[in-house]
Symmetry: C3
Subunit: 450 residues, 3 copies
Amino acid sequence: MTDEAPAGRATVDEAGAGRRAMTGAEEGRWMHALVERLYPLCRSITGDGVRRTLEIIAESVRLRVREVPTGTQVLDWTVPREWNIRDAYVKDAAGTRVIDFAASTLHVVGYSVPVSATMTLEELRGHLHTLPEQPGLIPYRTGYYAETWGFCLAHETLEGLGEGPYEVVIDSMLADGHLTYGEYVVPGRVPEEVLVSCHVCHPSLANDNLAGAAVAVRLARRLAETDPWYTYRFLFAPGTIGAITWLARNRERTSRIRHGLVLACAGDRGPLTYKRSRRGDAGIDRAVRHVLRTSGREHTVVDFSPYGYDERQFCSPGFDLPVGSLTRTPYAGYPEYHTSADNPDFVSPEAMLETLETCWEVTRVLEGDRRYLNLSPYGEPQLGRRGLYGALGGRSDTRQAQMAMLWVLNLSDGRHSLLDIAERSDLPFAVVADAARALRDAGLLKECAL
Amino acid sequence: MTDEAPAGRATVDEAGAGRRAMTGAEEGRWMHALVERLYPLCRSITGDGVRRTLEIIAESVRLRVREVPTGTQVLDWTVPREWNIRDAYVKDAAGTRVIDFAASTLHVVGYSVPVSATMTLEELRGHLHTLPEQPGLIPYRTGYYAETWGFCLAHETLEGLGEGPYEVVIDSMLADGHLTYGEYVVPGRVPEEVLVSCHVCHPSLANDNLAGAAVAVRLARRLAETDPWYTYRFLFAPGTIGAITWLARNRERTSRIRHGLVLACAGDRGPLTYKRSRRGDAGIDRAVRHVLRTSGREHTVVDFSPYGYDERQFCSPGFDLPVGSLTRTPYAGYPEYHTSADNPDFVSPEAMLETLETCWEVTRVLEGDRRYLNLSPYGEPQLGRRGLYGALGGRSDTRQAQMAMLWVLNLSDGRHSLLDIAERSDLPFAVVADAARALRDAGLLKECAL
Amino acid sequence: MTDEAPAGRATVDEAGAGRRAMTGAEEGRWMHALVERLYPLCRSITGDGVRRTLEIIAESVRLRVREVPTGTQVLDWTVPREWNIRDAYVKDAAGTRVIDFAASTLHVVGYSVPVSATMTLEELRGHLHTLPEQPGLIPYRTGYYAETWGFCLAHETLEGLGEGPYEVVIDSMLADGHLTYGEYVVPGRVPEEVLVSCHVCHPSLANDNLAGAAVAVRLARRLAETDPWYTYRFLFAPGTIGAITWLARNRERTSRIRHGLVLACAGDRGPLTYKRSRRGDAGIDRAVRHVLRTSGREHTVVDFSPYGYDERQFCSPGFDLPVGSLTRTPYAGYPEYHTSADNPDFVSPEAMLETLETCWEVTRVLEGDRRYLNLSPYGEPQLGRRGLYGALGGRSDTRQAQMAMLWVLNLSDGRHSLLDIAERSDLPFAVVADAARALRDAGLLKECAL
């Protein structure tokens, strides 16, 4: 088996980074720099673009890279041949490259078979893809499962082309090889897992999905600096076939997944969007909604639909995992989507940081949620004599912390978790969790068995 | 027993009509012509007006007419004496009929006992009914279960009447006889039934309910041209006592009724209104709501109330049948209601056609709804290699049909029917059903046992 | 045991009052007069102020007054020492009382320990409480469980004070004694109870809560004139510690409580507010919501929160009683709250009467709610021949009473109570109950066993 080669060690000492935590602004800039570094690579669902992407990610987290051979049966699919490309261009009679892969990886249709021919514009036209309504932008197109080839270019470039003839070259290779994906695990105190997944198969597109990968890396770094309860598994894999391959190879492990998030479109300047899991009321659905509601951040929560990113696979009916999807502007919802305008300028350090903070706060809820039992459930316990309450009565100002204590005492009957209490009281989870801690320390609560 | 006389054969060959299907516009005109033809008849809850109405309907569908004798106990009620009327008028001293039954059947209070007398306006006044706030219209009044008589007239006519004396004649007959109703059954592949009921007891009122009867006839004709799964039973009966009589005589059959619709006020130009069954979430309730929501037609859906048409009887607590009511402007909701302004001009071919199409689409949902099981539930099956999906990826335009396939695959876990899927995805039922068919044909779904 | 001393007999003959029922306007004035009479007393959670308050209430209802000794363990609390006060003032060099307890009981912080000293304004300042943003008002402050003392005064009074020195006297006594509360019970035909509770521990504050006590007294008087089904228990007790004491001494009795209301802030001119019980859908929650909705009175219904009045204790998780809270403007929701502006002018006879009528109507629902079984459930019974329905059909005007009959018949399947029916039909409970009575008397309904 060649598919378990551990990837390069992290070059940054993790424990050291833990001690010298970045500020949020530094993390934002760090993520944006990662997006810029990964942007020029020509990724596809297989090939060296993904491999190189994972190597760069592995500089920050101790990634295990998996290689799965072409032809491997994975659920209803088969791992395809591996695609690699060295060069591609359309050259006019004067020798000028009028379309040049070196200028943008988007210029070549993904999985194009090799071509070397001379043809007129008329003959070439059926292989050219443009966006007439966005004439300055290069579209992104692929043809994974069709033996075809093509070029993508700005419509205004097309309109400037003469009749030819043109030298047309795609120096690509479609051959047996591997599908590559990477996993990074932050071990927790229990084997139950939280899955964070992002696709790494798109070529030079920043928001879709280098931003998602960058946020995942930072989230992983933050979690690695903690001693988490759950085991966190980060998956960096090609879209669809990568998730399917992982699921095929980890069927039994899926029963351990308690919560999951598919991260995508994590860096544009639009408001946050959470798409619920197929279950609709899974813990992750409630945790993300709560974090968004109490964060004050502009956001939308939408119901599951079987279209979008790899939540399609995780939420297929045979698995039906509690996995939602966090994006900013959702899938296909912005004009820059799948065009050359989705470049590093389209994503901002601030937006990625906000996405990261949201993910982090969600992990705070997942980690901190539990049930307590009020040990003094008949009437309110006298908080004052335990130093938990202002001694001077009759004042109308009520502090959030005291409200949280009253809510925790009132609802800690064994049926309500801290998240339940935070939702019902509309208080931030952290405030509720702090109140519970204070009450537990005062001997008024005990933790329920799981 | 004289109550089972089969009514006249249909004069139009049904199979022939099936082959030469009318266009929608033709059906609209056909229904309006039927309303115009039935309009002059003096119907009541018993008598020759109903009999003649059923004869005319029987020209189009193979109606079985039932005759139930006066005095028959039906649930809590007794079949009343049969009422017939030849003539009625109020004649002034000059011999002019100032109120004349021949001009409108509404002029006589239904079930009026015979009268032949001379009296002043003062003496007559207690027997006259007008609408002072709609002075140009004749009201509709009946007194089925009170031994009384009366005339209805326009308030402005009343104001023009002198002191009299008047010759007052009602040449009616109230005697033992029968209550008459008609049934038409389109046999299905299963004995479970869909009931469509409309009242035929109102005299010259077009929307209430000749339009409903006309829509029912066309719906029956359409269904007869199919090979339906359910058995469809059409009931043309007097309101209240007719439905009660049918229920009394078909108690055991009611357990076969899977879905039902009471059709009334089907031709006015207002938007469609569906009133839910008492159950509120019966299959018919969901099917009609779905059809209305995805049709783009203006409409309202309201909760059940025990007031209106014969859903009152079908939804009485002892039966509690899954029967809703479809109208346009609902019961008593328009100023023309129960007046001479509810004439054939008040109903339109277009409105009746829209009501008919709605009913038809509802039957398409009832007929087509079923559960499938996704045979490839782990991850998405690869639609592309089965020719079910566009081969060129990366495009953001998603077609309704492909969305429907994804939804059907995602929710076909044995718990969701196609209607469930159509509701959750907000896609038209027909699109969802087509997608399911394509997936089944590709071997990806199998039908669940009922 | 000295704590069971029956309080003074009612000076007004109850049966006599029963025969000569007051008009609503008289009741409004009566309640306002009671507020004015109770207003000057210096109440606290213990002491003679509460005792005198209960004596005055006992002139109207046969109150049983309970005395519970200092040091008694009650749930998580201990009955505190008893506090009484004779006089208190701050006197300037000229001998003028610049702060004078005799002018307002609010001037002294509740539970202030005795003081007799001379000090400068500077030294005194840490013991002075004002409302700088409401400079003309005296705040209300207490310090039950802290050994402290203080004065409350208008901020503008404070600003007029010179440097002193001042003679500072609080002639109070904090010593072992008793906690006092009163109960009045209207016996019902069943031992199941309805609890009405109001706090009587606030000194000169009218809306909070003399108005609540006044409404409770009138409600008790009205109920005493009936022969109720439920046993009604009225509790007049100090807030928090009083409710906790009662709960501690009546643990087993709490299982009898079927419904309960905490009455407070019952007299201001704001709209009515009902706060649901912790359960959220208890009978009392549904009854009050129904009464408010069908009353036409402006109102709000809010969810339970563990903050406010003694619903906090009754709804603590160990008891979780079906007890809601009825106020006008809720707890701490008005600028006069806990200030000298909450005086008898702040509450009106009309507002108290409206609160009383609401409570009364709620008791009408609780008393009258039951389940019936339709004895003629197949189809509608023929109401006409039983004289229950207008004999002349065809009219579009439907009377509320007839709608109520149809709803009662339709939903009396053993699963729906009259309140269920009133809620679903949106008809006033009284109309539904009247219809049920008429139908029962006509032999169409029978009452279900409880």
